[in-house]
């Protein structure tokens, strides 16, 4: 029977059929971050349990850190407890920690593919909802809760019910200044934030095949905003080229064996899916959100929609609440709405190619007066590569802050926050109320669009600046 990529990967990992649709799956790679594993280690200490396979466990610190230049794990007071617990727990469990000052430190989902921790056809879990980012290199990767983190630490396995299979096909050529971020936002806008619930999503089509691996990571990253725990692009030559030589990628004979195995993973031509969505990329404009869920999105040349036109009362109420929260008026053009803060960073958009796209817009221009603009590389490696290419100078000369790697302003667990009532264009993935700090107003966009907003001091159509 023809099988999809997902079927093949799933079958490879079944340890036991537990009945009632539940299976025990092997976890090939477990990546932990400081905020969601602390309670798990505490429970393990209480119950006298050990980490079963520390060599399959990777640890990073990213969320509760300051990103101020020269920071240490203690710079942000409020994060110290978790930083220190992380060090103590990793030492006690013999888990290697990529610590705050390590040259590989970074956001867990940036680091996993970058270091070759994530591999095609491997199962990878992390106590973090954006774990599907590693699907960009063809891993079956998904986010888990803290109880599951504890379960994986203790057993190197996880109890799962098999999700349904969805395929999203992106075909066609992208217009200038349209990026992976615009594609995934457009998809979420069309399909809605619960379209992927209960599904594992395969991204396919000519636009995905033509897309560099970093862009595929951006697409997979926002699978959870589509409602899906997992999203992936089955591997191809671009994947192998990306992974070759990465620190934890297989070497020598292992690499050859892996390659032969990986080549058999893509979906068979006749494979079937429970749901299919097709997107034509040719007509997609740079996207920007206007509400407080990622499905509230439109082209940057669009207008704030009118709740009165909503299909039902509950949608009408939700839209009205969003517009009220964001201080927007129905019918208002999005372009030109003044912004206070610009955040270029997060596991969605903080790789080298993201910074390059933003730098192209920023080069030779200045951040508008009164705007605070931050560039936060996703990892120390990205930061170093960007500095080698001179991007840091492009940003600092334009008036952007050039910061250390971490989650930063994506999530209000550290000291990079958007002040109450202030409007931020962010390259991250969530525009929920208060996500970037109490009262923060968020609009999601691509790095190029964010840079355009920084220099204009307002939501801007990057296509007009680029010409």
């Amino acid at each position: 029977m023809p099988e999809s990529f997902f079927d093949k990967v799933w079958n490879q990992h079944v340890i036991a059929d537990l009945g009632d649709d539940a299976f025990l799956l092997h976890v090939d790679r477990h990546v932990i971050q400081e905020t969601t594993c602390a309670q798990a280690f505490k429970n393990m200490a209480r119950d006298g349990r050990k980490t079963r396979n520390p060599e399959l466990t990777y640890a990073v610190i990213d969320h509760v850190l300051s990103t101020a230049p020269g920071r240490t794990g203690d710079t942000f007071e409020g994060g110290r407890e978790f930083v220190h617990l992380m060090r103590a727990n990793c030492a006690a469990h013999n888990i290697e920690l990529i610590d705050v000052d390590h040259p590989w430190q970074g956001i867990v989902h940036i680091v996993s593919p970058e270091l070759g921790i994530a591999l095609p056809g491997a199962t990878l879990v992390c106590g973090d909802s954006h774990t599907a980012t590693s699907g960009g290199v063809g891993a079956y990767a998904w986010g888990i809760g803290t109880s599951e983190v504890e379960h994986v630490l203790a057993t190197q396995s996880i109890v799962q019910r098999k999700p349904k299979r969805m395929r999203v096909t992106f075909d066609g050529k992208l217009a200038p200044q349209v990026y992976a971020k615009d594609l995934i936002l457009y998809l979420i806008g069309k399909a809605g934030i619960s379209a992927g619930r209960g599904h594992a999503v395969e991204y396919a089509g000519s636009a995905i095949r033509a897309m560099p691996i970093e862009g595929r990571q951006t697409i997979c990253n926002m699978s959870i905003e589509l409602g899906a725990r997992a999203g992936f692009v089955p591997p191809d030559d671009a994947t192998y080229e990306y992974l070759a030589g990465r620190p934890f990628a297989p070497k020598g004979r292992d690499w050859e064996a892996a390659l032969a195995y990986w080549r058999g993973l893509p979906s068979d031509p006749e494979a079937s899916f429970d749901r299919e969505i097709a997107i034509d990329c040719a007509d997609i404009a740079p996207q920007i959100t206007w509400g407080t869920t990622p499905e509230d999105v439109t082209g940057v040349d669009g207008r704030v929609p009118d709740p009165a036109a909503a299909p039902d009362a509950s949608r009408r109420a939700a839209m009205a609440r969003s517009l009220d929260y964001l201080g927007l008026t129905p019918g208002q053009p999005l372009e030109g709405i003044p912004v206070d803060v610009v955040f270029i960073g997060s596991c969605t958009n903080s790789r080298l190619s993201d910074l390059e796209a933003a730098a192209k817009v920023a080069r030779g221009r200045k951040v508008a007066p009164g705007v605070r603009a931050l560039v936060v590389p996703g990892s120390a490696s990205v930061r170093q590569a960007a500095e080698a290419a001179g991007l840091d100078r492009v940003f600092t000369e334009a008036g952007f802050e050039w910061r250390e790697a971490g989650c930063s302003m994506c999530v209000a667990v550290n000291d990079d926050q958007v002040p109450p009532g202030k409007r931020c264009i962010a390259t991250s993935n969530r525009n929920f109320e208060g996500r970037q700090g109490p009262g923060s107003r968020t609009h999601l966009a691509s790095p190029a669009s964010a840079a355009a907003a920084a220099v204009r001091g307002a939501i801007a159509d990057v296509r007009k600046l680029a010409s």
Binding site: T36, E150, V413
Partner: protein, 215 residues
């Protein structure tokens, strides 16, 4: 894990759709193991800018301060994987959430902690919401043994749940303990799998430390 058999108590209405886990427990409560999660539940809507109770928020109004059950709109608990969303609900006293659908990770996290997520069709959730809005005794009884949600007037709505999930809740099973009994199978799997995918299992430790020193 805490056992769950049944709960009868005040049910509060959260009719909005897509209530995300950032709303259930804001990030500022996620920086310490010692955070008062019960106080943090829905903190952004529950308290005013001055830190005082927002009188319009449902859980601040009697009798809903004693809520044991929530009835919510679709896609409850979407967004971040934070299990603290479940813990915060429990610390407050909530034992069961009824909604047309849930975020996948929240749904899983709920079962792991003995918080019962009940899925009912949209129309029945709406019926419960109107009942709660109109009633001066906004209580519900949720019975996991018989898989029903009932009003004091005797209206009883059946719900479906995977038998294994139900059994685990009724018995308060420790899932890790259960899986550890499969230890032999896990070891056998790893051995056989390493023969096929050596690169998955063959990692030697030390690379992280060596790179740190090399800097």
């Amino acid at each position: 894990m805490e056992k769950f058999t049944a709960v009868t108590g005040i049910a509060a209405s959260f009719p909005q759709e897509n209530i995300d886990t950032d709303a259930i427990i804001p990030a500022s409560y996620l920086r310490s193991l010692g955070s008062d999660l019960g106080a943090g539940l829905f903190a952004r809507s529950r308290y005013g800018a001055d830190g005082k109770d927002n009188p319009d928020f449902v859980l601040n109004r009697p009798p809903f301060r004693q809520s044991r059950i929530l009835v919510a709109g679709a896609n409850f608990g979407c967004g971040s994987s934070r299990e603290a969303a479940v813990w915060a609900l429990q610390r407050f006293g909530i034992r069961c959430v009824i909604a047309p659908s849930f975020g996948d990770i929240f749904f899983e996290n709920a079962f792991k902690n003995g918080l019962l997520p009940v899925i009912l069709p949209e129309a029945q959730v709406r019926e419960l919401l109107s009942y709660l809005a109109a009633s001066n005794d906004p209580t519900l009884a949720v019975d996991l043994e018989h898989c029903t949600v009932a009003t004091p007037q005797g209206r009883s709505i059946p719900f479906a749940i995977a038998p294994a999930r139900r059994a685990a809740l009724l018995e308060g099973l420790d899932e890790i303990g259960q899986t550890l009994r499969h230890g032999g199978e896990i070891a056998a799997f790893q051995k056989a799998d390493a023969a096929k995918r050596r690169w998955i299992h063959a990692r030697e430790q030390g690379l992280v430390a060596s790179r740190a020193r090399a800097r």
